[in-house]
Amino acid sequence: MDAILLQILNGLDKGSAYALIALGLTLIFGTLGVVNFAHGALFMIGAFCAVTLQRILNLSFEFVDETQTDFLGNPLKVKTPYVEAWFGPDIGGSIIDWAVPLAILFAIPIMIGVGYVMERGLIKHFYKRPHADQILVTFGLAIVLQEVVKYFYGANPIQTPAPDTLNGVVNLGAAIGMDIVYPVWRVVYFFFAVLIIGGIFCFLQFTTFGMVVRAGMADRETVGLLGINIDRRFTIMFGIAAAVAGLAGVMYTPINSPNYHMGMDFLVLSFVVVVVGGMGSLPGAVLAGFLLGVLESFASMNEVKSLLPGIDQIIIYVVAIIILLTRPRGLMGRKGVMEE
């Protein structure tokens, strides 16, 4: 029982990353009808926003402390980050410690900006072109973004730890008399993902802006005929989708040290997730994200692996193939989306 609960937790946790990326992909696909292969790169840029902020906060100056000496007997050089000098060691130190959560605030404007520039500068010109061209140009863009990041940050993974207080483990099962020890940050990640997903759905459901966007997703032409500038709203949605991917990346950094090709690794999986959920269906993307996450973690249990060796490596693809062949529109796909 404990093991099963643990695997469900693992799955929900893995699934929340898939769901966030797939949600962004679906937002772009559902609004603009563009297949965005560069979405993984946006995830990666988000992660590197956290890295950048951490580096900025750690910018420090050196001064020579005459009272202390280092092991060679020379006067000790003390490095103090500017932040600590300005706010005092206590507040400054905790600001540095909380770099990753702070990076959320830092990443949102950057990601919206990146998304806006991408849509206006490149993707806008590809609405009328075939889907194959959209895939190809965004694939090229993904390579470029990845290489630019590699140029500035190097090819090695960069450690970005979570704040100390959120770095340990917690016994989630204590309340129900079971023993389920789980890293705190992963729990945080799950709730963060739920929050973002809930936020996006509320935004689309309960605001006028969201209503117009939903109307545009259903029938773009009619909304345009009503005198609403739907293109502008879709551009903003692209920015929001980029921000969702970016935030997923920011929060993922303590789980897995970011490197330049993390986006590509996630991209393939999140495309599979989107297709399983049904192209263009937001609830489908979220559902499929969590579902595949849970399935994946169950498949990696030793009991399952001894029964079907290697199943943990391929379960997601097997599910995708079965779903596509039996329910061609995916779990919750709408009629008439991408059916040419």
């Binding site: 061209d133 694939f139 290489e147 630019v148 391929i314 693809y317 995708a320 061609p328």
Partner: protein, 401 residues
Amino acid sequence: MFGLDKKDTSKLIIVACLALLAPFILNPFPTDSALAQFNAGYPDLMQRFVIFGIFAIGFNILFGLTGYLSFGHAAFLGVGSYSAVWMFKLIGMNVIPAIVLSVIVAGLFALLIGFVSLRRSGIYFSILTLAFAQMSFNLAYSVLTPITNGETGLQLTLEDPRILGVSATADGSIPVTNLFGLEMRSTFELALGPWAFQFNAGYYLCALIMLAAFYLAIRIFRSPFGMMLRAVKSNQQRMNYTGLNTRPYTLAAFVISGMYAGLAGGLMASMDPLAGAERMQWTASGEVVLMTILGGAGTLIGPVLGAGFIKYFENIFSKINDNVLHTWFSFLPDGMEDAVVFIIHPFIGKGWHLTLGILFMLVVIFLPGGLVEGGQRIKGWLSRRKAKDGGKAAGETNPAE
């Protein structure tokens, strides 16, 4: 010639000349000159040119003709490599059985994957092929380790049975791949003044096979079957309305292109008898897509050009470093020189992929037809200008009425 019209014959002859004279064409600079690093006429690189040429030609038969964008073609190449190496391990070091087996196995594999994937089209097809390829890649790394040797890659050892050959040569080393005794690695060097040209047996085998593959591709393009595939690309729905089942045609195209990929994989293993799972990764599939698009999808000669282009510049760009740049731009004033080198620096050496990505984006945006379309546009522009000049001259002699 060979049942081709004049235009296609000339294309075949051009490719044949390029392929057979490659050791000369790719070695235009004397060996001891400063520009010798731009020479690409050494066996390893030339083999890669033609092998990836075959791969791209095959991919083009699927993508160029039917418009089905497969993101999993590297799986067939990997399967081909594995089966070729197994042939070397079990039967003997002759390359013919290895290549034949790799083509057959890749074809069967493609039949299986194609049968499932082709039930869907458009983006779904891309994702399905991607899923299958990633699945094979993951399996090759994990459960199939007894067959694929996992991360280490499949290699020849001294204990292999090699029924028709020897397990080890007289001096106790692993025998090398050969074609009825002609060693694939044997190279004849021709020194002409300051130039040194290398003629490699393996390269010429690959080149001849590539020419055969190219000829076959031309015939497929010009056949009724090729017309049918083009019809699928332009409007599959209308084909279905006329009561025609397109599935067998697309499946045939898929299997053929899978066999081309298997052939490329088999040749790759024949030149260097090892096979690793990384050949099946989806980035490898992406590479062949890049080659085909860059050269010109749907054209005959495009994929060959694209493959050569990418492999050449991959090799050359990776070799250039800051010192080389400094010697090039040494004619500029000091500050300018440093600035220019600083600007170019991210794009060379390890930054080759950045250059490739940018180039690829530019091609997709401005030249959807690839290098071939670029050539045609330049040709069209030149002939238009000539026509204009001619028209003007004519206008002068015959004033308008």
